[in-house]
Amino acid sequence: MSLEELAFLVLAGIAIGTALAALLVRELVHTILWISVFFVALSAIYFLLQADFLGILQLGVYAGAVTILLLFGVMVTRKRIFSREAATGIGPFPLALALVSVVILAGVASGLPTQPASVQTYAPAMLSQELFTTDGGWLVLLGLTMLSALAGAIYLVREGRE
């Protein structure tokens, strides 16, 4: 087991653990903390996969902005700090559903090659060249969506609308 594999396994364990914790813990603020740890773990995995730019991006966008946004959302919508989140009366159905889908995907995964393979690294220049030339269209689309999302969000939360 090379060092990297060990690192990967640890990081994967952390990711799954924090994800579960984020969803199961009662305190809303705690979920925000757990989810930020989850994002950091993911960015670490990206670094592991030689996708440095993405790692940074993940850190910046998710670990930073999204977590803060969520925190902000939590703060606004709660009457009292640390109010406990009511456990939902959920039936076994969704749990079974999630488990089944995981099992299926794992089943599919088993078909993949199991012997180790090397990971390619790409220079950020290649990435940016890819983004701005062949995948230019996606970028423009991304831009447009962001713009409209912005307008929509402003419209939704503006004052004076009864």
């Binding site: 996969l49 730019f53 959302g73 995907l105 990971v119 939360v157």
Partner: protein, 105 residues
């Protein structure tokens, strides 16, 4: 060059997707719903990244490009989600998903 086993990565993203789904289906609070969705999306981005990595040949980089775009999208999605949360909160006072059924009639 670091060597990894693809299956492990796929297993990881499958697990993350499972957790995401579980979150979506069970949690009644809107914000938690958003978080669960974020987890599921990250599972997908992870897929893109490691397949980009394991791809042989120059085309692989488009995987990372796609990952970038999706991360961007996910961010906007959270923003809009929160806008909805705020609006919902102001109008209905609670952000419990089960009560927001006005669309049903």
């Amino acid at each position: 060059m670091t060597d990894f086993v693809v299956a492990q990565f796929v297993g990881l993203s499958a697990a993350l997707l499972g957790i995401g789904l579980f979150g979506i289906l069970t949690r009644r609070n809107f914000i938690l719903l958003l978080i669960a969705i974020e987890i599921a999306i990250n599972a997908a981005v992870l897929n893109f990244v490691y397949f980009a990595g394991f791809a042989t040949g120059p085309g692989g980089v488009s995987g990372q490009a796609a990952a970038v775009v999706i991360v961007g999208l996910a961010a906007t999605e959270v923003a809009v989600g929160l806008a909805i949360v705020l609006a919902l909160n102001r109008q209905r006072g609670s952000i419990n998903v089960a009560e927001a059924t006005t669309l049903r009639q």
